[in-house]
């Protein structure tokens, strides 16, 4: 069952088209990664779902009901990319403020604030103004303030930007708990490894249009294929080209793409040694989201 559906979303700013008919769905309990180069339309898409951008065409449905104007979003949680908190308030006060703004009162508010402080591991720092917090602590609180009212659908705009690996892991643990509680998550990120490791499905947007949707396996199969990339480093550049290395060579580096690593790799090693070179290192890489992303969006820099 889809909890969020965006259909043919259109948006232009003057002569610039930000969204050119983007469509995708978010399923119940899913963690969907929305990826795209800079200026591809991710932020416009997320802001339009959040009610902050008025679409020029198309529709958005939340839990089967069309979203109009800026209302009807009580079941939606938005976690902005910025640390959108009040720096002079304590962690608890920030949670209470955003809880109230999202309609929580008295016992329900107190209960959710207590939950959020535990969930973010900030219970022991609850009474401190957050301006003294580390980047990771602010990020966790930033997320908590957006999900305090137990939304069914949560939009997370680059929730791990600028934090260390430990905090990043902690944040994904938090998101897993939200999913376990029944929430569905749409996440934008430039951290492709994170998306690869945590997202159920990937949506790639470019030039305002969705250009690919699916699981990592599906995207790989549709784009770069399942072959592995083998790189062998020799102690020196071979005096003559060595057959079998269909990925080319560059000095002491030999490259090849193989479909069956177990069957094809020993033969490649044997040929390299037969050329009189010693092997220093072997790397076997499976197709990554990075290669899919580059394949789909190109290597050209985006402004």
């Amino acid at each position: 069952m889809n909890v969020l559906a965006v259909r043919e979303a259109l948006k232009s700013y003057g002569a610039t088209q930000a969204l050119g008919g983007a469509s995708f769905e978010l399923a119940q309990g899913e963690l969907l990664g929305l990826l795209g180069p800079n200026g591809a339309g991710k932020t416009t898409l997320v802001r339009s779902i959040a009610g902050r951008v008025k679409l020029g065409g198309g529709s958005i449905e939340l839990l089967g009901k069309p979203l109009e104007g800026s209302g009807g979003r009580a079941l939606l949680g938005v976690v902005p990319q910025e640390i959108a908190l009040y720096p002079l308030l304590t962690a608890r006060e920030n949670l209470e403020a955003f809880g109230r703004l999202n309609g929580l009162r008295r016992a329900a508010l107190a209960e959710r604030v207590a939950w959020a402080l535990e969930w973010t591991a900030l219970a022991d720092r609850a009474k401190e103004p957050i301006r003294h917090f580390s980047g990771g602590m602010k990020r966790r609180l930033n997320i908590a303030c957006g999900v305090l009212h137990q939304p069914r659908v949560i939009l997370l705009d680059e929730p791990t930007v600028g934090v260390d690996p430990q905090s990043r892991e902690r944040i994904y643990e938090m998101l897993d708990k939200l999913r376990a509680a029944g929430a569905s998550l749409l996440l934008t990120t430039h951290q492709l490894e994170e998306a690869e490791g945590h997202c159920d499905r990937i949506v790639i947007i470019d030039h305002g249009r969705i250009i690919a949707t699916g699981t990592l396996e599906e995207l790989v199969a549709r784009t770069v294929g399942h072959h592995r990339r083998v790189t062998i480093r020799l102690d020196r550049a071979p005096s003559q080209p060595i057959t079998g290395f269909n990925g080319g060579s560059e000095g002491p580096l030999l490259r090849a793409q193989v479909d069956d690593v177990g069957a094809e790799l020993p033969a490649l090693i044997q040929r390299a040694e037969a050329a009189g070179c010693a092997i220093q290192d072997i790397e076997v890489r499976r197709p990554s989201l990075q290669s899919v992303f580059i394949h789909l969006t190109g290597r050209e820099l985006r402004e």
Binding site: G69, S70, E82, A84, F98, L101, N102
Partner: protein, 434 residues
């Protein structure tokens, strides 16, 4: 190295219009405003002191004095006015003492002169003990009574020099014996001449001097000064400056409060709040209310300090003070929101609000009483809301005005408030859905 740095800074300045305005326009604007306010730009625009005259003598001498005062270019003399409580179209009648006192109390003018019966015979005494004239004055304007008193001494001499000379010689004869026939003949020839000369010289000479420097001489006319709003209001100016400074700093704090909106835009907090159940109207209303409440507190603190440190009579004026404070703070808060919503960045707000606030504080009378400015500047001040706020406070603390008497000031401030809120709401539309 240094030329490179100069090039970087100069290029940055060329591309920053706000910085250019702050660097080059701001000093010019400030110079112009302060020169106009404090310099009394141009003689023809200089403030004329309005003064009412009640002639209780009805003598030839008192009429001469009134005419002579009327010719003084630094005075705007009034001898008639509508009767008290009469409709606007009612015919004016000659001002008597009661009407003159009412005019001062109402703030129509800050000084009135009562020429008593018997003033004509008092002038020949030359001992300053004659029938005193009465100067009814408003303590809010400490300069006008001094000026009128000085000019009165002057016009006594210029209006009837022959009479003064004749009475002076009469006094001389009483104490020293009669003049000789030759002296008498010379006097008879000379007296008509000085009256003629005085008449010819009046127009040019009278206006050149606003001050009749008597150089220690107590004067021909005794003047008794009466402050009609209560004698010895030694803290009168304190209440003016308390109001003036409070309103000016209220504007600064309102601007800073409004600026928090720009911080919230930058930090994304505004966006986040707007994705909750709060709309832009609610958000602005909350901000406005908060800034207004802080403003009320700020003014209360200022006046309480005035009470403690300068014996400001706060507690006898609480109702009027409360009304003016609430309305002023509410209007200033809305003004702060206008400034914030007009600006794109905190830096812009900082520069623009400094210019605007200092300008309207100068024109509106926070720094320098408006009644001492030229008439043009006084009229210009009416376009600033803080001038109306200050007028309201002055009414409360100097004229003991009832709350109902504050209706004009409160009405205008509420009109400003409404306009500011509408402008702020319209400007804030750019932060709504794009």
């Amino acid at each position: 190295m240094i030329p490179t740095l100069l090039w970087i800074y100069w290029t940055s300045l060329r591309r920053d219009r706000v910085a250019q305005a702050m660097t080059f326009l701001l000093p010019i604007i400030f110079f112009s405003i302060f020169a106009s306010v404090f310099g009394g730009r141009g003689r023809d625009t200089m403030s004329r002191v309005p003064v009412a005259v009640a002639d209780e003598s009805h003598s030839e001498m008192s009429r001469r004095l009134v005419r002579a005062l009327g010719r003084e270019k630094s005075l705007a003399l009034r001898t008639s006015a509508r009767p008290l409580g009469a409709p606007r179209e009612a015919a004016e009648v000659t001002i008597d003492r009661a009407r003159a006192e009412a005019m001062v109390k109402d703030g129509d003018l800050s000084v009135a002169l009562v020429l008593p019966a018997g003033i004509d015979t008092s002038l020949d005494r030359f001992d300053g003990r004659g029938q005193p004239s009465t100067m009814l004055s408003d303590p809010s304007d400490p300069i006008a009574p001094q000026m009128v008193a000085g000019l009165l001494q002057k016009v006594v001499m210029t209006a009837a020099p022959a009479t003064i000379a004749k009475n002076g010689i009469g006094a001389f004869e009483r104490y020293s014996g009669p003049l000789t026939p030759q002296q008498r003949k010379a006097m008879d020839t000379w007296l008509p001449m000085i009256d003629q000369e005085a008449a010819g010289a009046r127009d040019s000479a009278a206006s050149d001097s606003g001050h009749a420097g008597a150089g220690g001489f107590s004067g021909l006319v005794r003047v008794e000064s009466v402050e009609v709003l209560g004698q010895k209001k030694d803290n009168a100016l304190v209440s003016f400056y308390a109001a003036g400074i409070a309103v000016m700093f209220l504007l600064f704090s309102a601007s800073a409060g409004g600026g928090a909106l720009l911080d919230e835009v930058d930090s994304g907090t505004l966006d986040r709040v707007l994705t909750s159940s709060v709309g832009m109207t609610g958000l602005l209303a909350g901000k406005w209310l908060y800034i207004a409440l802080v403003g009320v507190l700020q003014i209360c603190v200022m006046f309480l300090w005035g009470r403690l440190a300068f014996r400001l009579d706060l507690f006898h004026h609480l109702p009027g003070f409360a009304v003016m404070t609430v309305v002023t703070a509410a209007t200033a808060a809305a003004f702060g929101l206008v400034l914030a919503t007009l600006c794109r960045t905190r830096q812009q707000l900082s520069g623009i609000s400094t210019i605007v606030i200092l300008s309207i504080s100068a024109v509106g009378g926070s720094m320098f009483p408006r009644f001492l400015m030229s008439q043009g500047m006084q009229k210009m001040g009416l376009f600033t809301f803080n001038a109306w706020a200050l007028d309201g406070y002055i009414k409360v603390f100097w004229r003991n005005a009832r709350v109902i008497d504050l209706a004009p000031q409160v009405g205008v401030l509420l009109a400003f408030l409404t306009a500011f809120l509408i402008v702020a709401r319209l400007m804030a539309r750019r932060w709504e859905r794009s």
